[in-house]
Symmetry: C2
Subunit: 326 residues, 2 copies
Amino acid sequence: MPSALTNFTECIARELSAVDDRFHAELSSDLRCVNTLVKHVSRFRGKMLRPCLVLLSGKACAASELGDAHVTLATVVEMVHMATLVHDDVLDEAELRRKGATINHLRGNEAAVLLGDYLISHSYHLCSSLESQFASRLIARTTNQVCEGELLQIENRNNIDLDDQTYLKIITLKTAVLTAACCTLGATFAGADERRVKALETYGLSLGVAFQIQDDILDIVGDTSTVGKTLGIDIEKGKMTLPMIHFLRTAPAEHRALLRSLLASRDADKVERIRNLILPSKSIQHARDRAHELVDRAREAIADLPDSEAKRVLDAMAEFVVTRPM
Amino acid sequence: MPSALTNFTECIARELSAVDDRFHAELSSDLRCVNTLVKHVSRFRGKMLRPCLVLLSGKACAASELGDAHVTLATVVEMVHMATLVHDDVLDEAELRRKGATINHLRGNEAAVLLGDYLISHSYHLCSSLESQFASRLIARTTNQVCEGELLQIENRNNIDLDDQTYLKIITLKTAVLTAACCTLGATFAGADERRVKALETYGLSLGVAFQIQDDILDIVGDTSTVGKTLGIDIEKGKMTLPMIHFLRTAPAEHRALLRSLLASRDADKVERIRNLILPSKSIQHARDRAHELVDRAREAIADLPDSEAKRVLDAMAEFVVTRPM
């Protein structure tokens, strides 16, 4: 796992390795052309954040070792996430993902649309192998919401007047409901009671929103070689994010006017100029503060859990989500 | 239901109307922008072939009236089909579908990708509302295969040497496994025994292959105003279909050479010239003959079913599939 989370995952190393095997077993096909595409997409698997959330939530609630269901669920959420990445790259027309060329850039939008469909289909297929319908229902409800979030996002493209509330609704739907589902599934399949499941759901939801705010901050302040994906895309694609929304509400009038005119322009150095305008303002810090508040909420939610290695890792991961440089 | 199948569906009119209601109930969202897109896509719902197959297979096997599970399943397969249509139109860059502008043409590829995702997510969501996992497993396995078929198809784009066998594999995966699944589900949920389920699966599979061959024939010989969707797309997109494959194997050498050079060209009147070359040949009739053989196989498969209105309609539908002008 090529990841800055590696330090955190010692206590679930065995399960993560099983997730890897399950991932490849589920996606392998009789058709060579399918395997070639899947092989490429596997190369830009990333931090395995979502499988980690399933497994750690499970461990933090389980009386005994995790069984096969947790490995299945962790693989399912990784596939769902990969599917959204592949389709996102079509939407974003991105060329770079995890330091490798994106599928759409390499093989065209058609292959990318179909590969995303293949991943999502296999995620439901794998999920339906479980005995109960509980996970299938939760995963499908979650992907319904992810699609709604994405649709709301493109509806608000170039909406310079986007407010905080709608921004939060978009990122909750497109990112946080899935991280919440990971924690809910992990806890539920470990036999946790309702109150504890709810606590982990709150943890996952807050962490997901914080994670997306950090992503949006990195899109402005990040360094492409560290982050490993095309940056400045939010600006290019007219996606308003928290730092920009804050800037347009609080910066001096002439700065606000300049940002508005830059956002509307098609200048080649538009992204660079917007960065230079926002970086010295208080708006990046404002977004960081909001993300930190959410991390605090996530950590509070699990404070009552009995002490365990898994709980300590969940606690540290919440912090990592908003300090990561990638 | 604006369809030439209307005459066939009297015996399932009540259930089809319930499918319509279920379809809208499942897809309705709190978000206005989502409802607007869904409303548009609903306008080009078509023949309802797949829901009809679920319901008629159910009726043909059931001892009593069909229950709610059949309505659910019929809605699920229609949503799966709509999702593939919406993504197909992105792949094909089509502008016209069922006499209305396609989503991608109206709202851009992004909305079309996401709307397809929304439809597929809701189809699994609705399917997971059933008590047993049987349908979820079959539907997910089927969509796995549909994706494989589509990927195999784009892998063979512009492959002038495509053989019959690979062509049949492509259309079986991308079209016929879903029609087969419709019949399997309809029969299974009506309590049919294994032999009868198998008979209906064979019916659905043969009918699906025949249906796709007829679609491919219409793409060459059809009239846009009757068929109601952009034609000549197979040629434009380098998709080799049965009439072309046959022509390249059997036509006089100079005709074969002309087709090869036309397929490789970028002439504006390429589609027209290819039509004019193939129409007088025996290749359209060859494809029609193959489709009719499959229809015979479909009808044979259900010959042993006890007589019923539903069985007679299934029989007539098989014939309709290869004689329809749209």
